[in-house]
Subunit: 182 residues, 2 copies
DNA sequence: CACATTATATAATGAACGTTCTAAAATGAA
DNA sequence: TTCATTTTAGAACGTTCATTATATAATGTG
């Protein structure tokens, strides 16, 4: 009945997600997005109302395809504290030394002075609930892990020595296991 | 010999610091800075080469006037773990619910994809060295506190429930004191 | 093959940006 | 008071931006 889309919607979302994660929302221009996704602005605006709408879609995609996926890969239900340790350690082996950081963390900071998008609070909730569950419902400790997780991502993005972070994580989880009786 | 400056240099630096802290470097326009500092761009460009140069000066000012000042106020040398607890708790009582966050944390994220300005690494070092000293030179724990500190600032900026953060900090420091034998 | 419909490419638009330029104003020295 | 010097105010410049408008291309259907 009409001309079909000539691009893969998920591929565009993934490309936009990477660009936004690396450079932030405001610093990523529509031309950057065209180049990253291999699609011209005409097509982007045909699928999304504006840059913000594409950003929000890419961010939801991030929460599922990257964040929840990472949890599933390293700290699935039942994996306990050991799963959480692996989850934290996995952050140290990201491409480019992890300089892209996390889209949730980065957006929390970028939008902190205005209105925080829902996907940020959602990302925090997913992490905290995962931590609490794997710890056997220790809420205060889960919030501590949430803060530690965000902080590690800030430090990694800023190029903080990965070796020091690894030692820190190792020590932290040794203590955590002792305190949670093993 | 010539016309004197008609504005207070520290006041301009402080105003710029607040603007950059709230909105970030890129999102703060020179016109924003004019309004915040009560000085026109002509004067700003007469004193600073460009926006970035003013930003770097304002950031150095932040490290001394805000960060080191906060340490001195809450966790001076000799104050031990109790000082650190007060330092962390003080973050929960910032104006506007702390939505401005920390200029070091915010800049670590904003510039994470390019070159990190020196004041960011300096800020990290000051914090980590302070933590290590007050803990009696426990480096791994100091790095954990550095990450926790950055994470708390991210969460506060994103409007995370201050009540939960307070409980978390309280629990964290109870554990810390036990582990450091008291 | 037309036709309706939707996608695509790119030009055009208007606003905002950082920076530079220009002229006036303010000072101390001569 | 005249001069050299520096600061100040704000207009002007060129660029980049997100978005809209426009024209063309591709499809299934009749």
């Amino acid at each position: 009945m009409a001309r079909p889309r000539s691009f893969n919607q998920t591929a565009v979302l993934t490309a936009a997600m990477h660009a936004f994660r690396r450079q932030g929302f405001a610093a990523t221009s529509v031309r950057d997005l065209e180049a990253a996704a291999g699609v011209t602005s005409g097509s982007l605006y045909n699928s999304y109302r504006n840059k913000r709408s594409l950003f929000l879609a890419a961010s939801e995609h991030y929460n599922h395809a990257v964040l929840e996926r990472r949890i599933q890969d390293h700290a699935p239900k039942g994996s306990g504290i050991e799963g959480l340790r692996q989850l934290f350690l996995s952050l140290l082996h990201e491409p480019d030394g992890g300089s892209a950081g996390c889209l949730v963390t980065n957006s929390a900071v970028e939008f902190g002075d205005t209105e925080i998008p829902n996907f940020v609070s959602d990302g925090f909730d997913v992490l905290r609930d995962t931590f609490a569950d794997r710890l056997g419902d220790d809420r205060a400790e889960a919030v501590a892990l949430l803060a530690l997780y965000q902080g590690v991502l800030v430090l990694i993005r800023a190029g903080y020595a990965a070796h020091d972070l690894k030692k820190m994580i190792t020590h932290y989880f040794e203590n955590l296991e002792e305190r949670h009786g093993r």
